[in-house]
């Protein structure tokens, strides 16, 4: 958005002055972020998130993974200011998460599309455009642009209650992008989409990253996360279990894989000996990868066996499994 790019540097400058620790490259920062749900009498009921320390950098696609009840949605809600932290802080663009002005640069696609069903696609985008204080002309342009982008041109004047789940998802995404946000939070972005729609969504996410935006997504569809995410965090029962680059996390460092071709069985046996002794024409020697699914399930099992400890030996497990 033209106006946003104009105001962005001034916002950052302002924040630098008021918050000396503010680093414009860090979009999201949580410090000891904890959320405990309490009952009516104020007694702790559920510890939904426990001392989360996280830094999400500008321009990356960050995935939040975890089984149901692991604290993914709680983290997103804390980052959006929908929940207040029990302890710790959540900073978005260097501002407290409860500060409304930060929302000017955020786009959010909820888990299910909580939209006003009696509005049409055009009215929906116009309404959200108004909430960003966009002038009428700009709203109209932006709505037309986004409807085209998400492929809903044929249904733009139909009420959302007539939409299929996939169409609702698309209009949800369009409304999350209405302000051309710098940070996009996506909760289960591919849920309800057909394989083609899933592909388009993933392409869109990568395109957003290429435009310099930061994307944070949480998903149960591990293949999707593996396809698009640069870094992931795995949560289990409110604890951060794993954090790092997808490539690094999936690498099995203790193993070496040799790939060769055009070798007879006799030769193969010989090569084995020779490699064991001297080495031959090596076609490929690399670190093999397990699947994200293996990693994820490994962490969950490990956490069930040893609660409260950050998963360390995951790679060992995947190593033995990949053999």
């Amino acid at each position: 958005m033209a106006t946003d790019t104009k105001t962005e540097p001034t916002d950052s400058d302002k924040l630098k002055q008021t918050n000396p620790d503010y680093d414009p490259n860090i979009v999201i920062e949580t410090q000891n972020l904890t959320k405990i749900y309490k009952d009516f009498w104020g007694r702790p009921k559920v510890r939904a998130l426990n001392a989360l320390d996280l830094e999400i950098r500008k321009g990356e696609i960050f995935g939040l993974l975890g089984p149901n009840g692991s604290g993914k949605s709680t983290t997103i809600k804390l980052l959006l200011g929908l929940l207040f932290p029990t302890k710790g802080r959540a900073l978005v663009f260097g501002q407290e998460a409860t500060e409304v002005t930060k929302n000017e640069r955020i786009g959010y696609l909820p888990e299910e599309s909580y939209l006003y069903k009696y509005l049409t696609a055009e009215e929906t985008l116009d309404f959200y455009g108004r909430l960003f204080d966009m002038p009428a002309k700009r709203r109209k342009e932006r709505a037309a642009e986004l409807i085209e982008q998400v492929g809903l041109g044929h249904a733009k004047r139909r009420q959302l209650k007539e939409y299929s789940k996939g169409m609702t998802r698309r209009i949800g995404l369009a409304s999350a992008l209405v302000n051309d946000p710098d940070l996009v939070l996506l909760d289960e972005p591919t849920s309800g989409l057909d394989p083609l729609g899933t592909r388009e969504m993933k392409d869109m996410i990568i395109k957003l990253r290429d435009q310099g935006k930061t994307v944070v997504m949480c998903s149960h569809l591990l293949a999707d996360v593996q396809d698009v995410c640069d870094r992931i965090a795995i949560l289990y029962q409110g604890d951060l279990k794993e954090l790092g680059r997808v490539d690094d996390l999936l690498k099995v460092t203790e193993e070496t894989q040799v790939r060769a071709k055009g070798i007879s069985p006799e030769a193969e046996a010989e090569i084995r000996q020779v490699i064991a002794k001297h080495g031959g024409e090596t076609l490929s020697i690399e670190n093999p990868k397990s699947t994200l699914e293996d990693l994820f399930l490994g962490i969950v099992r490990d956490s069930q066996n040893r609660p409260g400890i950050r998963s360390a030996g995951v790679s060992d497990k995947s190593k033995s499994k990949s053999k």
Partner: protein, 670 residues
Amino acid sequence: MNVDTQTLTSFPDWLASNSLLFLIVVVAAIIVSVVFGFLVAAFRHGPFEGFYVLAQVVGQAVPDFLKSSPRRIWAIGMLAVKEALRRKVVLATFAIFALTLLFGGWFMNSNSEKPDRIYVNFVMFGTQLLVLMMGMLISSFSLPDDIKNKTIYTIVTKPVRATEIVIGRLLGFGLLSTALLALMGVLSFIFVSRGLEHTHQIVGQTQTLAAFVPVSGEFSSLDKKRISENAILEAQTNRQNGHSHRLEVLVDIRKPSDPQPSNTSNIVNERVLDDGTTEYQMIVCSATAGHTHRVFVEGQGESAKITLGPPVGFFRARNPIYSDSLQFYDREGEPKTKGINVGNENKRRSYIGGGNPRQETSLAKVQFNFSSFYETRFPNLQKGDDGEQVLPLEMDIAVFRSFKDDVEKRVTAGIQFESVPNNEAGNRFVSDMLDFETNEFTIQTLPISRKLVGKVFAPDGTLVEQGQYDLFDDFAKNGQLKLTLKCRDYNQYLGVAQPDVYFRPSDAPYAWNFFKGYVGIWCQMIIVIAIGVALSTSLSAPITMLGTIVIIVLGFFSSFVQELASPNNIGGGPIESLIRVVTQQNMTSDLDTNAFITIVKNADFGISYLLYGLSFLAPDFSKFNFSNELSAGYSVSNSRLLIALSLTLVFSFGFTLLGYFSLKTREIAK
């Protein structure tokens, strides 16, 4: 009389006397909110962190209000309108209203003494009930449903402030309800004015003078009294809207020096007599069911065609000039704040006696003091029969008879005017006593001639001169005038309150008055919506509705609640009353004086004050209810309108503030 004393309060007076109370309430509300807010925050976060959280919330309130974007407020408001329309509550409300109007006419008694009052009360009460219910429903369900459906997530994750969510909703629902109320108002006006629209025809073969018969006796076949003693012919109309009228041909003889009759449309015969005087024969229509009709005559003599016009006398909006204060004097002439108590006759009125045969010179009287009584306030003075201008003085006086006497004879009262000299050295104008028969249960008009016969007294009480003096130029030269009312019959009493005696210089247009009446309903509706929106920020829809109903009920009965919570009630406060109930002691017997009772009494005192204070949280809805004025035919004073609008503003702002803080401090997600 139907207009109560609050109609006399002028806006500046009200503002002056209520500003302090308002300030106290605001300061008390701030203190209570801060303490309560701190307790909640301390409970959640601990005392130090709690203080920080509270300071942060309070600190953000000012920028949140100042930086609210009109575009966002408008967007949320319009969404609220669409949502409310989708719920069909508005449509249902309108459908019920339309049905009521369609069939309501069947059940109205247009034959009553004041059918316009029945019609006006019906539409006003119906509209009020329906729009208040609708306002409560649309405002109570909106936000809780948004939170339940999580659609609110898509709003609060945009740069939308809590102020914008609350004000936007108030604006949206307010606009929608205003549009509906306006429509209902227009339809009500048409219903009321068309509902009583009718005319009559003369019973007989022709619609001419031939249908008239000579007058016989005091009563006609309709068993109604004759309109005038000068009547020579009479006829009657057909029944229409449940009533009929009596028509009479009157004879009016005027000298050449006399003014011509002001109305010529009803003259059926006109001839010059031998002595030079002119005889006019005119047809008049009797007043029945609160109205009369203008009579139109086409042509002259026997064959003149006679028609009756539309009803005259319904839907007045009297614009009275009330006195500024009231002073009672007892039999000895001593000033008193109240007159005689004649029992539980009327709570508003106080009574003055007419003396008795043993004490013939009763000095009991009531004095109405007018200030700013200037001629400019009477722009359209009519001329009386003597050619002098007359001021219409209207009265609604209650009569209390301490013995039956001749029940056919009405109790006589007398009025007298007196000037108020600027200083002690000034002479005093005192008019002669004008006696008249009181007419209980009706508003009687007494034309006061501008030229009054009276006397001028020097400050020491000696008579300076006597003669005819001008009411404006002599009596009320400085704008001040005293009007004294006395009862002139022994052993009978007259009851008055301040709004019961007034001058009626002009009437306001009825449509304008009707509009003002609906502004009163509008005020109530806006407050109800503000309450609904405020409560719905933290409560679920059914609880919000319940809370709104409680506040509305408190508002409608606020004076009763305040009376109930008054610490000086006979029988004590709630705990003491309970003790009396349990121990079967009556309200007036003294309780034992011991430590327990002392504690109980002190506790009751505290509870009473708390309840008394809480009763101010609900707006006094009687301040917004103008249907009494409207149905009784009085113009709603601008002061009352301003008071209602100010109260609406204050309460709406107060509840908006409550809604803001409650939304700001709650977690939207669960």
